[in-house]
């Protein structure tokens, strides 16, 4: 049986290779590299971060669009052109056919993402070679949580505390206070600190806020020049590099994060956390893990499209797959939206949508007419959206761009979590594809 499945997979892969999509992949890869190089940035380091962010977003997008189109047409072309009859008149079951196709599509997805990533990386190495090599990738060492002093594992003499929120809303800032950093034997010139916030929001710039970070002493005196960085609105984390000499001379160091323009808002929460970032790894190691993330997302899309194509015709399969892609990428927003439905008070909304802390926005929500905020239908819609967004796969989890923005390492646990996540949802959708195809009539009249 395995041999037959592999034969069908080989056929699928050959079809892709002989369609000469490779040429498009190389052109796409170069276009991605060239486009991302044109991005404006305030510093060379930020430019590299932005380039990598755009690169991976576009690799994911191109691979997804191509694979969705290829799968939806491949299965239905087999049925419409009746090529499938020459397969099923052989000792090959529907299970073998779908399994073979799935393996073929996974291989194609791998080739696509690999070629796109490789071409793009090649282009970036030629154009920004030095900049890439100098990009530092940090590994979060310890997870610091809560308000009171926390004793951290092997660094037992360190006490860290987060004072939580100072302000929320337009023009707000948040201050983290660290005690005892001077007792840690840092080896590097810069001490990297990552601040995890409940939410940021930007009314422009595609969900990325631009924030400033000040390092202050206990009397709020500025200890080094303000640093600026981008913070993604999903899973926001602001990174700052503090001079080792400053850390060594101060028992108490405050880190103040504030939005850098009127279009940006930050909304830190009381349970926000901080990481100390140490043990930097190679840029390429992170790049290939990020490649893995994109591959997992495209593979998951492969199985979703396969199950759609196993049940629907070509056009409907395309519509369903694109809907799945868009929904999976906006799921966190959908969940927030579901939570928001029916809420009446600003305070209630603030607690659910930390990234939308801006007062005017929440006031607008509260002015909605009654039929949009109460009644049985609202309860049903709210529960449906929350339930759907809880069970549908969240493609944002596979987005590696945040790691490049923050310069943090994609560690093994996170990587394995993503593998498990992909396998879990992949097996569900693959079973659905088998089930749909098993019941599908291949001949109509």
């Amino acid at each position: 049986m395995v041999k037959k499945i592999l034969v069908i997979a080989y056929g699928t892969l050959t079809e892709f290779i002989r369609n000469r999509i490779f040429l498009f992949l190389i052109i796409f890869g170069l276009a991605i590299g060239a486009t991302s190089s044109l991005l404006p940035a305030i510093s060379p380091e930020d430019k590299i971060k932005l380039i990598l962010r755009v690169t991976f977003t576009m690799i994911g997008l191109f691979s997804t669009l191509l694979i969705i189109y290829f799968i939806a047409t491949s299965i239905n072309r087999d049925i419409e052109e009746k090529t499938i009859f020459t397969v099923f008149s052989r000792p090959a079951s529907r299970f073998m056919y779908i399994s073979g196709k799935a393996i073929g599509f996974f291989s194609i997805a791998f080739i696509m993402v690999f070629v796109l990533s490789g071409v793009t990386l090649g282009y970036l190495m030629v154009v920004h070679g030095k900049g890439l090599l100098e990009t530092r990738i940090y590994k979060p060492v310890k997870y610091i949580k809560g308000h009171g002093p926390i004793i951290i594992g092997d660094m037992a003499h360190l006490e860290l505390a987060s004072t939580g929120v100072d302000l929320i809303g337009d023009g707000s800032s948040a201050v983290w206070t660290f005690h005892g950093l001077n007792r840690i034997p840092f080896k590097e010139d810069k001490v990297q600190i990552s601040l995890k916030m409940g939410g940021v929001n930007a009314s422009s710039n595609a969900g990325t806020a631009f924030v400033g970070i000040d390092i202050l002493d206990k009397d709020d005196k500025q200890l080094q020049t303000t640093q600026y960085t981008y913070v993604g609105s999903m899973n926001p984390e602001a990174c700052v590099a503090v001079d080792r000499s400053i850390v060594a001379q101060n028992e108490e160091v405050k880190v103040k994060v504030f939005p850098s323009g009127k279009n940006f808002y930050i909304a830190p929460q009381k349970n926000d956390t901080a990481f100390l970032l140490r043990n930097h790894c190679s840029f390429y190691s992170n790049y290939f893990r990020a490649f893995g993330f994109v591959y997992f997302m495209v593979s998951l899309l492969c199985v979703i499209t396969l199950s759609a194509a196993a049940f629907f015709g070509q056009k409907m399969a395309l519509v369903v797959s694109f809907f799945a892609y868009i929904t999976g990428n906006t799921l966190p927003y959908l969940k927030s939206f579901g939570s928001l439905i029916g809420m009446k008070s600003v305070a209630e909304m603030q607690s659910f949508i930390p990234g939308h802390g801006h007062l005017h926005q929440t006031e607008t929500y509260s002015k909605l007419p009654a039929y949009l905020t109460e009644g049985f239908h609202i309860t049903v819609v709210k529960k449906f959206i929350i339930c759907f967004s809880s069970i549908f796969p969240n493609f944002k989890r596979f987005d590696p761009t945040g790691y490049f923005l923050q310069g943090t390492y994609i560690d093994n646990i996170i990587f394995l979590q993503m593998v498990a996540y992909m396998l879990f949802y992949g097996s569900i959708f693959l079973s659905l594809a088998w089930l749909c195809f098993w019941k599908r009539e291949l001949v109509g009249r």
Partner: protein, 289 residues
């Protein structure tokens, strides 16, 4: 394993196509019963929409019957194992056209339990047999209709099947190709294969089929041995060699004297197909000389 007498047994088979979104129903096959004996070539005839293709799809397990039973080589047609022993040539050339002849035969051959060496040898034999040796490395999308038909026949025989379903096997072939396919079918019959041949070209069926099944609107109209069906009871014909040029007159006189009624008399002629094949072969031989 004891060889069964019948390769195909169909009893009270009915297939109704239903539309999910309307009450419209089409009865493609209506209470059909027939059988195919082991080792015979059976012609499957009928006008468009008679239910031939639906019956073939049911025989291959692509469709499920609404009612009735089908047995192919003693098993249900949906059984994957039974496909090891079946060869199928579809009506149109439904193949992956990005493969070449070698690759397509290797692809289909790999779906059977065949040893690699046996498969390789079989591919070479079949390509030689269907006359595609020169074009074996060309992609199928570059093939003419006739060439696709030839590779179709080759792929149907890749597993050396016991039972072969040929849907319009001579469609798209020139008279020489048609003649070769007919000879191939006769050779296959002589080697003990059972063949179901569906065709609109009645002359082809008449030339090679032992038995014919005629369908109309999903129902069986006529079924029986080709010779019996086509014979006119009470009539017979013979061909006479006329060397002197007066034989015709002599026969006429004899029959009139003895009260025998002649219903038709004429000069014997070969068919245009026979003439075409003969002429092309002669031209080929002259060129070689």
């Amino acid at each position: 394993m004891i060889a069964q007498k019948y390769v195909v047994e169909i009893n009270n088979l009915t297939k109704v196509y239903r539309n999910l979104f309307s009450s419209c129903e089409v009865k493609a096959v209506d209470n059909l019963s027939f059988y195919i004996r082991r080792g015979e070539v059976c012609g499957f005839l009928g006008p468009n929409g008679a239910g031939k293709t639906t019956t073939v799809m049911l025989l291959l397990g692509f469709l499920k019957p609404t009612s009735g039973t089908i047995s192919v080589l003693g098993q249900k047609p949906s059984h994957v194992g039974v496909k090891e022993r079946i060869g199928f040539l579809p009506e149109e050339s439904y193949f992956y056209k990005f493969f070449n002849a070698d690759e397509i035969l290797d692809y289909y051959g790999s779906l059977f339990k065949m040893e690699s060496k046996v498969k390789r040898r079989r591919i070479d034999e079949l390509i030689e047999m269907v006359g595609l040796k020169e074009a074996r490395k060309r992609r199928l999308r570059e093939y003419s209709k006739g060439m696709l038909r030839r590779i179709g026949i080759a792929q149907a025989l890749i597993n050396d099947p016991e039972f072969i379903i040929l849907d319009e096997p001579t469609s798209g072939l020139d008279p020489i190709g048609t003649q070769e396919v007919k000879e191939l079918i006769i050779n296959l019959k002589q080697s003990g294969k059972t063949i179901l041949m569906s065709s609109h070209l009645l002359a082809d069926v008449q030339g090679v089929c032992d038995r014919v099944i005629l369908l109309h609107q999903g129902k069986l109209i006529v079924e029986g041995p080709t010779r019996e069906i086509l014979s006119k009871k009470g009539y017979f014909r013979f061909e006479v060699q006329d060397d002197t040029g007066s034989t015709r007159e002599q026969i006429r006189n004899f029959t009139e004297q003895n009260g025998i009624k002649i219903t038709s008399m004429g000069t014997s002629a070969i068919t245009l197909e026979e003439f075409f094949v003969k002429s092309i072969k002669n031209a080929g031989n002259n060129n070689i000389q």
